[in-house]
Amino acid sequence: MSAEQRLTWRRRLFAFVVASVGAAAAAAISFAMTVYDAANPKPVPLAAPGQPIDTGRWTITFRDARTGSIPPTGIKPSTPKKLLMVEFDLDNRSASTSNAFLRLFTLEPPVPNLPPPAFYLARDRSVAGGLQPDMPERMIAAWEWPQAVPVPQQLRLKVTSQIHKRRDNLYGAPGWFDRDPAAVVTLAVGSGP
Amino acid sequence: MTAATGMSERRRYWLSLAALAVVLPLAIVVNSWDSLSEWRRSEFRTPIAVERGTTQAYAGAQWQLTGLTRLPGATPETTLIVAEFDAAVDDPALLQAGPCAVVLTDDKGRRWLPVFLPGRTVRQGRPAAADKPRCYGLARAEKGKTITMAETFTVPEGATGLALSITIGGARPAYLVFR
């Protein structure tokens, strides 16, 4: 190789090394940040019953929890059942009618083989359909508790949150997407009829 | 020398620009050729007209219209049409190759889809038809058996030129038309 060729090769090598150092530094910092976030998760805020929780799409205020054998419809079931009912106020903060409250809150230590709860509108005492925006309603969620498992004295509920994106990453369509849990609520379980 | 090269360069430039006007539509057509041919193939375009009383082979069975009854509807301007037809099965695989659809059409091009349940009027006016299955009865097709089916339609009293068309998805683009 002549002297000029070696000079250009060295310049190119130098530029290559500088660029790769930058890229490696970026990758290393991003990795370190992810590891740090995973090791120190943000604590989920605790909320008390009666305190409104803003989850993005819904504003939920828990009222009380009780067990009973008669569902909120008032009609005695044909086979005896143990029901755990949670009463709460729900306000739809989105711009259209929605019935996406089915997975809004879950039992914090999940109970195995527990069927999903049924949601009732306290006003009609019947199964709830979609909730209209900006018109808060009192609702009751009823779990059919398995007979063998004892009902806990204190119920912990984890409330999920959602954000609205005007353009999502796949289609560019507007939608609501799950984010970190908004709060954890502890309710004392009373007993009812 | 430079003038000549300048000229040929300009000519090449404009020729390429003109070629773009041809190449772009060609690229679009080549890319969507598959979808276009699939769409054309999926349309039902060739009707097979069947005269009353004759049987016609279609999608692996011999089809025949056995009855077309008019019954009074709920109001004076509605009429219920009960169409009964049967299929003598030759090849069940062809019959079940796609969804079946039965539609009543008139001479103005309007289409009536069958009602979900026969209803009390059909049960009283034509009880035999009320028990027959709708065209999903083809799901139980076996070679050699004849499947009788019936469909009910609610049409205006003044609809004329009514024709029953039966389509089986796997046999497109052909479809049967009974008058």
Binding site: S96, T97, G129, G130 | L113, F116, P156, G158
Partner: protein
């Protein structure tokens, strides 16, 4: 020097054009939005697939229903809107499953599912070509959304490029809110009656 300026000018122009294109690109929601057909209260709206004519809009604070098994009283924190009209399919049998009240602030209120089991409700009516049928819709809206509302009626809420009837509800005014409306079954051509208590 002028070559540098020309280069920078070209760069700035390209950046401006790209920025304009990014800001004005319609999202997937706008590209597949339903096609609106405008209409007015009391006039027949003719679309390609269906025709609808909204005759009457009534407002009430509570709705009482007289059913076969029991009587119910439906209260609401806002206002009930009962919309009566006639609908007809144009070329093929169809069912109109989606009806929404578009408030003045852009919020959409779908039909109330609390009254959905009554006779003559829009999503339960199969519309046939040549046979106009009476249809009923019930909405629950806050009182502030009564004025300046628009009714959006379509075959389906999610089908891309579906035909959507947009009917301006200029006749609905907050002064006309009655304390109670009674919704009862009827045996005639119209399967319901709406009467003030």
């Amino acid at each position: 020097m002028s070559a540098v300026l020309k280069g920078l000018g070209g760069l700035a122009l390209a950046a401006a054009v790209l920025y304009g294109m990014q800001r004005t690109t319609p999202g997937y929601g706008e590209i597949t939005a339903p096609r609106p057909v405008a209409g007015k209260l009391g006039h027949r709206l003719e679309g390609r697939a269906f025709a609808i004519d909204i005759a009457k809009v009534q407002l009430a604070r509570t709705v009482a229903t007289k059913g076969a098994a029991r009587d119910s009283n439906f209260t609401t924190s806002g206002v009930w809107v009962l919309v009566e009209g006639t609908a007809e399919a144009r070329t093929e049998s169809l069912t109109l499953l989606s009806a929404e009240w578009l408030g003045a602030n852009g919020v959409r209120y779908a039909m109330s599912q609390r009254l959905s089991s009554l006779p003559g409700m829009l999503p339960g009516q199969r519309l046939e070509p040549g046979l106009p049928m009476p249809v009923l819709m019930a909405f629950e809206i806050p009182e502030g959304q009564v004025a300046g509302g628009t009714l959006l009626i379509a075959r389906s809420a999610w089908a891309p490029l579906a035909e959507q009837a947009r009917i301006e509800m200029a006749g609905a005014k907050p002064v006309d809110i009655r304390p109670c409306l009674v919704l009862a079954r009827s045996q005639g051509r119209v399967p319901w009656t709406v009467s003030a208590e």
